[in-house]
């Protein structure tokens, strides 16, 4: 049994919970997020020769980044940064969260998801910005919790990154 702790980080309302709701195995209700501040889900990803169980810690995303509990990230081997493609400010929030995590626990593999790709008409992130980030070697996916576009790819990518 190979499992990896993965933390989903992102600002409030970026769609983390929606992403996992459709595509992962879950037993806990969303009220956990507001009570305990975290919700645990599992995504099994079949890689060549092995299956990795990604234990996804969906941390409550709040507007106030300061209230984010870094301690939840302890022991994580990878991150899923989620940005709301219709709100440019959420990109900065995601990057700030990543910086805080890396400051605490060192660098770790991550994928950056620009969510809500189905809302093309309200899209607020320019392709140039995305390409700039891709230049840094980051793994970036434009996902849609609604259509499921690229969600599996993103998790598969992260799984192969953490399961080396």
């Amino acid at each position: 049994m190979l499992q990896k702790k993965i933390c989903m980080l992102g600002g409030f309302g970026v769609g983390k919970t929606s992403l996992v709701r459709r595509f992962v195995q879950s037993i806990f209700s969303e009220t956990y997020l507001t009570t305990v501040g975290v919700k645990i889900d599992k995504k099994s990803v079949a890689l060549p020769g092995k299956t990795v169980d990604l234990i996804l810690w969906d941390l409550a995303g709040e507007d106030d980044i300061g209230s984010f509990r870094v301690s939840h990230v302890r022991g994580a081997t990878g991150l899923v940064l989620v940005v709301d493609g219709t709100r440019a400010a959420t990109l900065a929030a995601a990057l700030t969260l990543r910086e805080r995590v890396e400051a605490e626990f060192g660098t770790m593999p991550f994928v950056l998801l620009f969510n809500k790709s189905d809302l093309a008409d309200r899209w607020a992130i320019s392709d140039g910005d995305i390409n700039e980030l891709r230049q840094l070697g980051w793994q970036i996916y434009l996902t849609s919790a609604l259509s499921g576009e690229h969600v599996d790819d993103a998790f598969r990518q992260l799984a192969s990154m953490v399961a080396r």
Binding site: K5, I27, V36, G37, I55, H72, G75, T77
Partner: protein, 885 residues
């Protein structure tokens, strides 16, 4: 220029020869360069002097900076202060970069010693350091203990009056466990349903084991969630790092978590677990940490390394306590019954015993001669007091049969004399002792005596009657007749007659009294008692007795015995006696007497008692001889060292064969005094060695010839050798003991000590140190050896005498030696001759020749190597050795 070499003086001083600059090579190199620059240069210079000061200048120009740097570093290394400062600057970062395992191993001994020292110096410091670590653990442990105690108390109280309680009490008594332990064991019904081992760092599940039938959601998610909740609580309430959420309770479901260094063990328990379960779970966690410490520390989500821990967790899941039925509180009922039954029983018994007591008292009250003054019952005890006549019934004996416990009766009786007629009668009977002819009776409260009595008794009775008149009943003796003198005489005569009738050998045929005269006639045996002699002492006047007796032969056994004794003249060896009306003869007699006795027995058979002569042995000469022979044989058989194999008697001759130890008694000699004719005895004895300790001792004494200081004795079948003996004798004794042990005979030589010849040892050494020297080719020692010989003779005599006193024989070996000059055979004979000469000379000085042994050693035992004149003269000698036997 020589004054400018100072800056390089240091490296020059410290450099060794091989690192010194090869100035010649340098000069050649420079010339080579110059030649390349200017080809004509060669024409002007053939070479460069090695001591050219310019070389030095050049060198300074080239490497002066390195030289000064080197000198600084060397200086740094040589100065401990500076070196320490330099190392100190980099120590922390060096330690950080060092491989941790190796650094840890290198530092461990030093750190251990330092801690040890610190504790020795001031334990307080370390206690202060560890205090924050230990305190929470101790607090938790005490808390659990208190919980455990309360739990135990609660459960004990709950079950104290139930039927289970009784059963558990019995179980506690049977198993020796405390009652509360047993109660907990039965009352705490629980089951460990799940056990999760969770990585402390990531919250990832390391292992999960569930009990049969226990269901749960995905354990991986649960474990992560559990650690998230831990974090949540910790963060929410600002709890310190080392604390942890250890119990979560939901209905009858409990989550217990035990935190280890790398992993947390969460057990999900349904029911009411005992507090001890904490310890069990903690033990499992500790064991897992011990066994897989490294794998746990390095856990990164791959649990394949930790497959073994599931077996450990399985032990937790197997923990449970089944529910047992709880029922009606029978114990209460039983307890109440147990209390009521004895109480009711007690009331019944005390009422019953009171009734019995009253029955007894009323029985006493109607008893004549008993007056009950007072009686009462108090606390189950009975008290009674009063008067009783000693002749009345015993109140104590009346108790038997009343079922009143005599132990609870306290009586106080005083004696008195009752005047009731029956008691007066009793007392009169006791005091007057009326003859058989007088009868006392009570007639209408009067005591009446009737019958015949002597005058004396009548007057006695009169006196008693007068005494009684004062208040007592009337004693009427008017009915007693005075008996006449004649009657008394007749009585005496009848007594005489009846005595005669019981006499053996007397038959009374007729007797009567007529006119004051007594007549008697009958038969009497002359061997019986004389009837006349029996008259004396009967108070019957012999003059008035007229007897007519005829003689007859009584067939009563004692008379027959007397007659037989008179007629048969039995020899002294025969004894006649009466056994149950039969006459029995016992003993020995010649056949002639036996024939006689048999004839007498036949005669007797007609009506008389039986005469049994079967127990008289025929003692004819042959029979006696056979008896003697048997006696002899039995004597032989009892002899130690003699084994009789066969013996028989045939035609007046006796044949015997068997084994005998030569040291045993001679069977022939034992014949003496047995009245057996030796000529008729034919013996065939074969010799053998008896293993009887007595014979073994005899043989040992003959073969070992023990010295006087040794004593052989037999103690409980073992031969024990006690005393002192020389070593070689002890060895022989030990050899003998070994041989004997094979035959099963114990020869104990443990109390045998080596003869202490200390005083002799000096003398022995002196004798053995003496050498008699000879001139070359001579067999007689020179005159200068005379004092040596004199002294030697005295010493030998003294030694031989002392040894003899100790029971040892000393022998002296005189060994002649020669030097190596000349032929070997000549030397051999000259050496023997020298020894012979010394023997003769010693003999002349009074030494017994049998103590002296002689041998010639030739050149074979030289005292010193034969390579000098002195050597030769030293080797021409006779040496003496002492042997003890």
């Amino acid at each position: 220029m020589t004054s400018t070499v100072d800056p390089i003086s240091l490296p020059q001083r410290t450099a060794s020869n091989d690192t010194e600059i090869d100035r010649e090579a340098l000069a050649r190199l420079l010339i080579e360069i110059a030649r390349n620059v200017d080809p004509d240069y060669r024409a002007r210079f053939d070479g460069v002097p090695t001591a050219d000061p310019r070389m030095e200048t050049l060198r300074q120009l080239l490497v002066s900076r390195e030289i000064s740097e080197l000198s600084r570093v060397t200086h740094l290394l040589d100065e401990p202060e500076q070196l320490a400062a330099a190392v100190g600057d980099v120590l922390s970062s060096a330690a950080a970069r060092a491989p941790h395992v190796q650094l840890g191993e290198a530092l461990a001994p030093a750190v251990e010693r330092a801690v040890q020292r610190s504790i020795q110096k001031s334990p307080r410091t370390l206690t202060d350091i560890l205090y924050p670590v230990f305190l929470p653990a101790i607090r938790k442990s005490i808390g659990e203990k208190i919980d455990q105690t309360f739990q135990s108390l609660n459960e004990t109280l709950r079950h104290i009056f139930t039927w289970h309680g009784l059963k558990w009490r019995f179980e506690s008594w049977r198993t020796g466990a405390s009652f509360s332990e047993v109660v907990l064991k039965h009352s705490l019904v629980y089951r460990v349903e799940h056990v999760f081992l969770i990585s402390r760092n990531s919250g990832l599940l390391i292992a999960h084991v569930a009990a049969d039938n226990a269901t749960s959601e995905d354990p991986q998610l649960i474990s992560s969630m559990l650690s998230a909740i831990q974090d949540f609580v910790k963060d929410s309430f600002n709890e310190k790092e080392q604390s942890s959420l250890d119990t979560i309770r939901f209905g009858d479901l409990r989550l217990w978590s035990e935190v280890g260094q790398f992993a947390t063990l969460v057990s999900v328990i349904r029911g009411n677990p005992p507090e001890e379960l904490h310890e069990i779970v903690r033990d499992v966690l500790l064991r897992i940490h011990e066994e897989c410490s490294q794998a746990l520390g390095e856990f990164d989500g791959d649990s394949s390394q930790l497959a073994g821990v599931e077996a450990q967790l399985q032990t937790c899941v197997e923990l449970k306590q089944e529910e047992s039925n709880q029922g009606f509180p029978w114990l209460v009922v039983v307890a109440v019954l147990l209390l009521l039954i004895p109480a009711g029983g007690w009331f019944l018994l005390s009422w019953q015993s009171g009734q019995r007591w009253q029955a007894y008292v009323s029985q006493l009250e109607i008893q004549p001669g008993i007056i009950v003054a007072e009686q009462k019952v108090r606390y189950g005890q009975f008290y009674i007091s009063g008067l009783r006549d000693p002749l009345g019934a015993d109140p104590q004996s009346l108790l038997s049969g009343t079922q009143v416990d005599p132990a609870r009766v306290h009586s106080q009786w005083k004696f008195y004399q009752s005047l009731e007629p029956e008691f007066v009668l009793k007392r009169l009977t006791a005091s007057l002792a009326p003859p058989d002819t007088v009868r006392l009776s009570i007639v209408k409260d009067r005591i009446v005596a009737e019958g015949e009595a002597s005058a004396a008794w009548i007057s006695q009775a009169h006196a008693a009657a007068q005494q009684l008149s004062a208040g007592g009943p009337v004693f009427d003796i008017s009915g007693v007749r005075d008996v006449s003198l004649e009657e008394r005489e007749a009585e005496r005569w009848q007594a005489y007659v009846s005595r005669l009738e019981t006499q053996p050998g007397i038959i009374v045929a007729e007797q009567n009294i007529r006119d004051g005269q007594f007549y008697i006639a009958g038969l009497r045996d002359p061997l019986g008692t004389d009837p006349q002699s029996l008259l004396s002492g009967t108070q019957v006047d012999p003059a008035r007795v007229h007897s007519q007796w005829r003689f007859y032969q009584s067939l009563e056994p004692e008379f027959v015995l007397k007659r037989l004794a008179a007629s048969l003249y039995p020899p002294d060896t025969v004894r006649l006696s009466i056994v149950k009306d039969r006459i029995v003869a016992e003993g020995e007699a010649p056949d002639t007497w036996i024939d006689q006795a048999r004839a007498a027995a036949r005669q007797l058979s007609a009506g008389g008692p039986e005469f049994d002569i079967s127990k008289v042995r025929d003692v004819s000469p042959e029979a006696r001889a056979a008896e003697h022979w048997q006696y002899y044989v039995s004597r032989l058989e009892a002899q130690p060292g003699i084994i009789v194999a066969q013996q028989t008697e045939r035609g007046g001759h006796f044949y015997i064969s068997g084994l005998r130890d030569p040291l045993a008694a001679d069977p022939q000699a034992l014949l003496h005094g047995t009245q057996i004719d030796p000529a008729r005895v034919h013996s065939q004895w074969q010799f053998y060695q008896s293993l009887d300790p007595k014979f073994v001792v005899k043989r040992l004494e003959a073969s070992l010839t023990p010295p006087k200081s040794v004593l052989l004795s037999i103690i409980q079948g073992r031969i024990v050798v006690v005393g002192e003996a020389p070593a070689n004798w002890i060895n022989r004794a030990r050899a003998a003991a070994d041989q004997l042990s094979a035959d099963g005979v114990v020869l104990d030589i443990s109390q045998l000590h080596e003869l202490n010849l200390a005083e002799l040892n000096d003398l022995r050494a002196a004798i053995q140190a003496t050498d008699i020297f000879f001139y070359s080719g001579k067999v007689v020692p020179g005159p200068e050896q005379t004092p040596v010989l004199d002294r030697l003779a005295d010493q030998i005599k003294e030694f031989a005498e002392s040894a003899h006193k100790s029971g040892v024989t000393a022998r002296f070996m005189l060994t002649g030696h020669s030097d190596a000059t000349g032929r070997e055979t000549a030397n051999a004979s000259i050496s023997a001759a020298r020894a012979e000469t010394v023997r003769a000379l010693l003999n002349k000085r009074g030494v017994a020749p049998e103590l002296l042994l002689v041998r010639g050693a030739g050149t074979f035992e030289p005292l010193v190597p034969e390579n000098s004149q002195t050597g030769s003269s030293t080797n021409r000698r006779v040496s003496i050795t002492v042997n003890l036997d």
